[in-house]
Amino acid sequence: MTGNGNIRLLSRNFGKSGQAGIETAEQRGAYAMLKKAVRMKPEEVTALVKESGLRGHGGAGFSAGMKWGFIPKDTFPRYVCVNADESEPGTCKDRLILEYDPHLLLEGALICAWAVQAERIYIYIRGEYFYPTRIMHKAIEDARAKGFIGDNILGSGWSCTVHLGTGAGQYICGEETGLIESLEGKKGWPRLKPPFYPAAVGVWGKPTIVNNVETLAFVPRILEIGADKFAALGTPKNGGTALLSLSGNVKRPGVYELPMGVPLKTLIYDCGGGITADRKLKAVIPGGSSSHILTAEECENLRLDFESVAAAGSMLGSAAVMVIDETVSIPRLMVWMTRFYAHESCGQCTPCREGTGWLLRLATRIADGKGRRRDIDDLYEVANNIDGKTICALGAAVAWPTKSYIKKFRHEFEALVKE
């Protein structure tokens, strides 16, 4: 749960109690960057974020500054929506920001709202995050009392309110359009696109910037240390650091803050203390449960930034690194993974609704040793029929890992099936 080395942009307070109060936060310099931002022109703030190379840490890794720039010029009101619906298996970093540094998030969201001239911020927290929700409520109240939220913020003439919304605990409410639907009081089903992306048509049909908690929390730090310095921390295309959720068969699982592009081995061995019981590494899932699995050989020289992981055949996603040692059965892993997605499929579009359950049945049959040889091919083909044919990315989120498990560990499946 701690950072590593000297780079602690977000994780300064992680694990420290009593740091979430506004007085303490202000003593540490909270809201100083908001004061700085409102003295800048909104477009200057956007330009700064663009220069910093900050990319979305929710999963897609899209340039944050560029996203802010997509807001239509003449359409008002505009909103900022904080995606705090962290529900991808393996990912557990946003929770720490919400719990230990809520004012950092609020400050980042307010700077973003200033940059896009939004009049309202919605924070959407997943239903199961009871404790972080309570902390955020308090933080919003305190910030409002101090005048960081409300009318004429810091004398800038700009007013902005913050609203907290909680989900009912559905995975797909973390997808930005599913989140917006849920926020609007409807069932959390993703919206059909194209043509409407939230930057043009978002909450209540108005332009909305939807950013992940971690992404927004970086914004005050960018203003603090400067775009150049922030960019220099990472790789040329990936600015700054990342909160890496390390889980699985490691000695010290947790959330570690490391610069973008750090070698995977540093994370596993230096931060995580190595594989449990010093067993052999079998595979790594580098970006949350929806990413392709990478074999130990493929991970040998892997660096953790969006481009490098993509080049290795997977994705960095939410940077939730799951370590798998030699004792883990990949077919059994597939059962756990498909069970999650079959349960969480929202039921809107056919391939995902019907296909995820089918994958689960096939995977269970194989893992239980009751499968037929044909089931492996069926599993692959059903995943293929889901992949790319759905409204949102949940279909791909189950199809990609499924296909990669079979491609890379087919022998394990074959060993379990009857002729």
Binding site: Q170, E181, E184, K186, K187, W189, P190, R191, L192, K193, P194, P195, F196, A342, H343, E344, S345, C346, G347, Q348, C349, T350, P351, C352, R353, E354, G355, T356, G357, W358, R361, R374, D378, N385, G388, K389, T390, I391
Partner: protein, 559 residues
Amino acid sequence: MPKIEIDNKPVEVPAGTNLIEAARLLNIEIPHYCYHPGLAVVGSCRMCQVECEHNGRKSIVVGCNTMAADGMKITTSSVAIRDIQRGVLEFYLQHHPLDCPICDDAGECDLQNYYMRYGLHESRVDLDEKRHKHKVHDVGPTVVLDSERCVLCSRCVRFCREIAGVDELGIFGQGGNAELMNVPGKRLENPYAGNVVDLCPVGALTDKDFRFKRRVWYLKRTPSICTGCSRGCNIYVDWETERSYKNPQRRIQRLKPRYNRAVNEWWICDRGRYGYRTTDGADRLTAPHTKLESNGGPLAVSSVIERAAGKIKATLDKHGAKAIAVLASAHSSNEDLFLLKRLFVDYLKVQCVDVNLGKEQKGEEDGILMKSDLSPNRRGALEMGVQPWGGSGLPGDEIVAGALDGDFEVLIVINHDLTANLAPKQLGKLEQHCGYVLYLGTHVSAMNELAHDVIPIAVWAEREASYTNFQGRVQRTWRPFDPLGLAVSEWEVWRDLAARLGLELKCDSPPEVFDSIGESIASFKGLTWEGLGAGGKMLTGVSESPYRKVQSPRPLAAY
């Protein structure tokens, strides 16, 4: 107007047209379940995926949510697309019950049709793996749901919300457990509920009225219009006269909406949908009868007409035309009313002709389709001049009052039940004071006892006729089957009556009468029977006014 190519065929379509509609223009079908042109686009069935090449990019897109753009090249039936369609069908059929032989939608089920066209795969699913859901769920007074057969296209949910404006159905549960159900505490009982059955692409929502009564392939289909109110919704009459098993005396099996953008789009109300039952009701008038003779033998319509002609002639000779009154009906067609007006007003100079009776039943009216005026042709009567302010004399109520006062020797009543409006004492007075009452009606009523002569007339489904709706749109019916018993069309009565009075109305068929209307009534100028076509034509000088703006397919939040 974007120019695109679909399967190598060029087509130019209006801006904002999606690929499904664009392909339809070329008679190419892009299969789909959830898309309906009258409802918001949700793109959930994933059946309408096509290959799209545009601006050098090749991609697979959904036809419902992709608008035609200049230069697009669309392929609807490549190997890749066929694979996708087969894949989607395989997903659908995984848990779908394989019960086409007993499903009430067999013969008009898109799952069945598409499987034969695009699927034809061997099942990879064991039967014991099938998931089971609610089987016979009573969603409302008119509709039954079989959740297992539901493909979750959400058309019914969208219809209720977007067209009927109610929240009665919803999809509940996640993933494979998602199920269509009533919104808790609500029943599907809006006045348009029957439309969800038409919208359902499979056999999930079935109509209690039609369920298990007939196989659709035995039905014959005739276009027509609903005569339940003054809107005149376009419908199809699905009928069957050869098999009476389980349905004795029921020729119309069901009514279905027929698309007409200007009148009713894709919908009809339940009042119209289930209003057909009176067509073959036990109370239909099927034979003429009289109080004036009692020879016991069968009575012919012609002999009643003969006697009526005699009475009219004698009255004209003795008292003149002012002693004759006609209470016509706004349920009659343009042709009926035109001939009635010509015979009585133009030729016989009868001034007492009207279709309106003060205490006539009014129906419920809403801002969607239903009109309070339950007669289909009041506007037609107005155009024909069959009403007092058209110059024909007394209003209907005064005709009745005059009859009670003994002003008329001959009173002709068409489809009005005077007994419902008059006290028993007044009825006695009418009988006493009126020399001769001729009643033309479709159904048995107390008028049968009151009138001296009764002629049974055909109902809308038994005749070709045109009606003018409240907007001024003239539309026609087709004739699915013959009138019951000895019933005749009203216009035939006037033609025969005229002939017996030595007058000639020069008309032997509804088209012929209609064409004469076109020649003599200014607002019908230029209209011809043939020209009415399937969707009807507006009266001359009356501008088109669709009942509401047609929705353009738009992406909306899912439900």
